[in-house]
């Protein structure tokens, strides 16, 4: 509701509400106030033009056109609203019927509706008008039923969308009756869209009525609505244009009022992501906030010398990387690391820890409203924060960096052949000829162990299995012989058997081509298997940085140890409860003053609550950000039974 209020304060909201308010007030009060004046016949003043006595002139009975236009508001609006109500009601019944009636009968109803939708609404209205007879009532039913099929179709689509969701299935399994299913679960979840569309439909109904009355099929004299007034006035349009224009303007204004209000409702009630109260807010806030540049410059000097030292063979250097969203949300807060040539670095953490945003920021894939700043962000020594021009940077990134995403189905374009999509990478960035690019694509498909690469080259993404698609994705990532491949949860959507193949493939490519790998995953076991070094992220910071081989023996941060213990393995003791990380992940919009993990940490004390620990390296170069890193009995960690809090949250 707060969003609704905010929308009503925008220019669109204000003008829509004012317009609709005026129309509705007129509809209620105009007949009461001016009804007599509008119907007063004055034979001495027939068909006059505008004058001070009759602002818009008079008609052929000497009645005042201005008052008649105002008074006609009620009938016009009333008819439009009733017709819409008929249409919406009939549409709801027809659209929801398949859910209540079951599959077989439902299919019949749906088929009937689909046929009705095929006819234009105006044609249907004329057809019904003939059936129901000339006059206001006939027109009402005609327009009402003409609106029904579109509404039924809309309802059907919305119902089908909701009915496929698990909570409907859950309610069915729980034995909830079909009627209750409809009223309790389905209708409330589609109501917003229906209300919005009903408002817009009211605007069109108003227009349709004017049309029918204009044709003489609608309201009959002595009653009058705008359409009829328009038809009267049109006879003398060359002599008294005002008499024809005024009802026309009234129709336009009222129609606009309904449609604009519908738009405003859509903004206020609609799906947040689409209608985007938040996005609009974000954009506004973004304009106010200064660009990330000043922050970037300041951070370069005081960065911790231990972090991400710039080695000569570094592929990627990230220093003090920050990502923020308008509204004080800081999902990535000063991340620094280095990836050496041919090195596999894993980033692990819960959802919301900022690991994926870090990857996207490095690949320069974050757009407004996200603000990215970094003390240094260099790939192969090239500073990515400076802007050498869009083309140059795109070309550089396109060839030096490969990206593999979680879902191989959505990361390929479904209507283009796999091979063409691979070839496109180097055709676009390196200007390679079509023939050479195709040869390279086939060679890459072969390199990622796709059998019969020539045939696969010509296939579409849906013709490949999930695992093969992900391998093709990896093939695409290494098309341009990149120095770094970023893989963001590349195996989360895959089965364990396929996961192992994909992981092995990544490893072998890393080894064969000396490609560095930035591997992002929530599964610390997988990261430990694939990577040389592991970065553990929590609440937008790196809290631990250590060689993967040391994970079991030298992990010192309580969060890392909790993650390690939380994964059940084939040796987990079935008699004991699983170790869990108690509490909820930190909220990036509302971070505590001290250590972000303190509220979930068994070792937390007063110091943790007040001061935020920074990464400190030990003698072997392992880094950890914890005040109590030394309080961990290292010998015990080596055991399979990691001593972490066991709690039921």
């Amino acid at each position: 509701m707060r969003r609704m209020k905010r929308v009503l304060r925008t220019p669109l909201g204000i003008s829509a509400s004012v317009l609709l308010g005026v129309v509705l007030v007129l509809a209620v009060f105009a007949p009461v106030l001016w009804g007599d004046k509008a119907s007063a016949i004055d034979t001495s003043a027939i068909l006059q033009g505008p004058s001070s006595a009759h602002w818009l002139g008079t008609n052929n009975l000497g009645q005042d056109v201005f008052y008649r236009v105002l008074v006609a508001t009620r009938l016009s609006v009333e008819l439009a609203l009733v017709a819409t109500a008929i249409g919406v009601a009939a549409g709801l019944v027809l659209g929801a019927a398949p859910l209540v009636l079951g599959a077989r009968l439902g299919r019949l109803v749906t088929a009937a509706v689909n046929i009705a939708v095929a006819f234009p609404a105006l044609l249907l209205a004329l057809f019904f008008a003939v059936i129901f007879g000339v006059g206001a009532r006939g027109a009402l039913l005609a327009i009402g039923f003409a609106t029904a099929p579109t509404f039924a179709r809309l309802t059907r689509t919305l119902v089908a969308g909701v009915a496929g969701l698990d909570y409907i299935a859950a309610a069915r399994v729980a034995g909830v009756s079909r009627i209750r299913l409809l009223t309790r679960h389905v209708l409330p979840n589609i109501g917003e869209t229906l209300v919005v569309n009903a408002t817009i439909a009211a605007g069109s109904a108003l227009l349709s009525f004017a049309g029918l009355s204009f044709l003489g099929l609608g309201v009959q004299a002595p009653a009058y609505d705008w359409g009829q007034l328009l038809s009267d006035g049109l006879d003398g349009i060359y002599i008294h244009p005002a008499a024809a224009l005024a009802p026309g303007v009234a129709v336009v204004v009222a129609g606009l009022a309904f449609n604009l209000f519908g738009e405003a409702l859509a903004l206020g009630l609609g799906v947040p992501e689409l209608a985007g109260g938040s996005v609009a807010r974000a954009a506004r806030a973004g304009r106010r906030a200064p660009a990330g540049a000043p922050l970037a410059a300041a951070a370069e000097e005081n960065s911790n010398p231990l972090l991400g030292t710039d080695r000569a063979d570094s592929v990627l250097v990230v220093r003090d990387l920050r990502v923020s969203f308008p509204g004080g949300v800081h999902p990535v807060r000063g991340v620094s690391f280095t990836v050496g040539r041919g090195e596999a670095v894993g980033v692990v953490g819960e959802s919301g820890s900022g690991k994926s945003l870090t990857a996207l920021a490095v690949a320069r894939l974050l757009e407004d409203p996200a603000q990215v700043s970094a003390g240094r962000l260099a790939l192969l020594g090239q500073d990515l924060t400076r802007d050498p021009g869009k083309r140059v940077r795109r070309q550089f990134l396109g060839t030096s960096l490969g990206m593999v995403f979680q879902d191989p189905m959505t990361s390929f374009n479904p209507v283009k052949r796999v091979g063409v999509q691979l070839a496109e990478v180097i055709r676009e960035h390196k200007g390679v000829s079509r023939r050479d690019a195709a040869a390279r694509a086939v060679e890459r498909l072969h390199a990622v162990r796709i059998p019969a690469p020539h045939r696969r080259y010509r296939q579409f993404p849906h013709e490949l299995s999930g695992g093969m698609r992900q391998r093709a994705m990896i093939g695409m990532a290494v098309m341009g012989s990149p120095a770094l491949v970023i893989a963001d949860e590349p195996t989360t959507a895959l089965d364990v058997t396929v996961q192992r193949q994909v992981l092995r493939l990544l490893k072998s490519i890393q080894a064969a081509d000396d490609v560095a790998l930035l591997f992002i995953s929530h599964d610390i076991t997988v990261v430990g298997q694939v990577c040389d070094r592991v970065l553990v992220m929590y609440a937008g910071r790196i809290v631990e940085n250590l060689p993967a081989a040391d994970l079991r023996t030298h992990a010192r941060h309580p969060y890392t140890r909790a993650l390690l213990a939380a994964v059940p393995s084939m040796h987990t003791d079935r008699e004991l409860p699983l170790a869990i990380v108690p509490g909820r992940p930190a909220d990036p919009a509302n971070l505590p003053a001290g250590c972000a993990f303190a509220s979930r940490c068994p070792l937390a004390d007063a110091k943790c609550a007040s001061a935020d620990p920074v990464l400190q390296a030990d003698d072997a170069g392992r880094e950890v950000a914890c005040w109590h890193a030394d309080r961990v009995p290292l010998a015990a960690v080596a055991d399979t039974e990691v001593p972490v809090v066991i709690s039921h949250e």
Partner: protein, 271 residues
């Protein structure tokens, strides 16, 4: 709690000629008070079997028996109670966003058994049973984390006073950290209430943790079934062996030089 027997269950989609047999003559028994773990890769028919068992997908053949009687004719079903309840994979779509956790749970309580204060008390008891704070009863799903939602879904399943619960990949949409919490609740409930449960997952380590009996599904068929220790220690079917060897083992590293001989396997299945 009671024994669930799936007898000769077949589910086909599409027409006779071009259709797909998702579940092919599956026999599976969930003994009273036991947890049966069902593993298999995506597309093997595990979820279809679960949906068919609770009546969300029509059976092409076979029957679902509860204590020897067809589920639809069982005594309890006639009184309006649904003896089979299901917990779904995605906690984000399995709760109505416009109903509080309490309302969602209360809705599943069999009609006519409890009303008013007694219904609310039962809801509160269930909320506590699955380890949620009391305040969760009035919370909308948007305010709950994935793990908390999944526990609400568990409470909702329990509210139906089921004889058997079917849990379909209930932890695969969760982070490892919350997965543990949900598994602990499942394990605790099972020991406390002697639940009969069909626990479906693609993760063998998870299944091993909660299940007494393990069944392996492959291409719509059960290829191996037996005591968990037995199946995991001495797998007989080649797919079970492949599955076991694919589990990432903590503290090991993948050897990139290992020949990738097993890669074409999957592809041959595709051709």
């Amino acid at each position: 709690m009671s024994e669930l027997r799936l007898e000769n269950i077949t589910v086909r989609f599409g027409s006779r000629r071009t259709g797909l047999t998702a579940v092919d003559a599956v026999d599976l028994t969930v003994p009273s008070g036991h947890v049966v773990g069902l593993v298999g890769e995506s597309g093997s028919g595990k979820s279809t079997l679960a949906r068919a068992a609770v009546g969300l997908t029509p059976l092409t053949g076979g029957q679902v028996l509860l204590n020897g009687q067809p589920v639809t004719q069982s005594r309890t079903a006639r009184r309006g109670r649904r003896p089979l309840q299901m917990v779904f994979q995605d906690p984000y779509s399995s709760l109505d966003p416009r109903m509080t956790a309490g309302d969602s749970i209360a809705e599943a309580i069999p009609r006519g058994t409890l009303r008013g204060a007694a219904k609310r008390a039962e809801t509160a008891r269930l909320i506590e049973l699955v380890g949620l704070p009391g305040g969760a009863i009035d919370a909308y799903p948007a305010r709950l984390s994935g793990g908390q939602r999944q526990r609400v879904a568990l409470a909702r399943a329990l509210a139906g006073q089921p004889d058997v619960i079917i849990a379909d990949e209930i932890t695969s949409a969760l982070d490892v950290s919350t997965q543990g919490a949900v598994l602990n609740v499942v394990r605790g409930l099972q020991r406390q209430l002697r639940l009969s449960m069909l626990f479906i997952s693609h993760n063998l380590a998870v299944v091993r943790y909660v299940a007494d009996i393990v069944a392996v599904m492959y291409h719509g068929r059960i290829v191996e079934c037996g005591q968990a220790d037995e199946v995991l220690a001495n797998p007989r079917h080649s797919y079970t062996r492949k599955l076991l060897s694919a589990i990432p083992e903590p503290g090991t590293t993948l050897d990139a030089t290992t020949d990738l001989a097993d890669l074409p396997d999957e592809d041959l299945d595709q051709e």
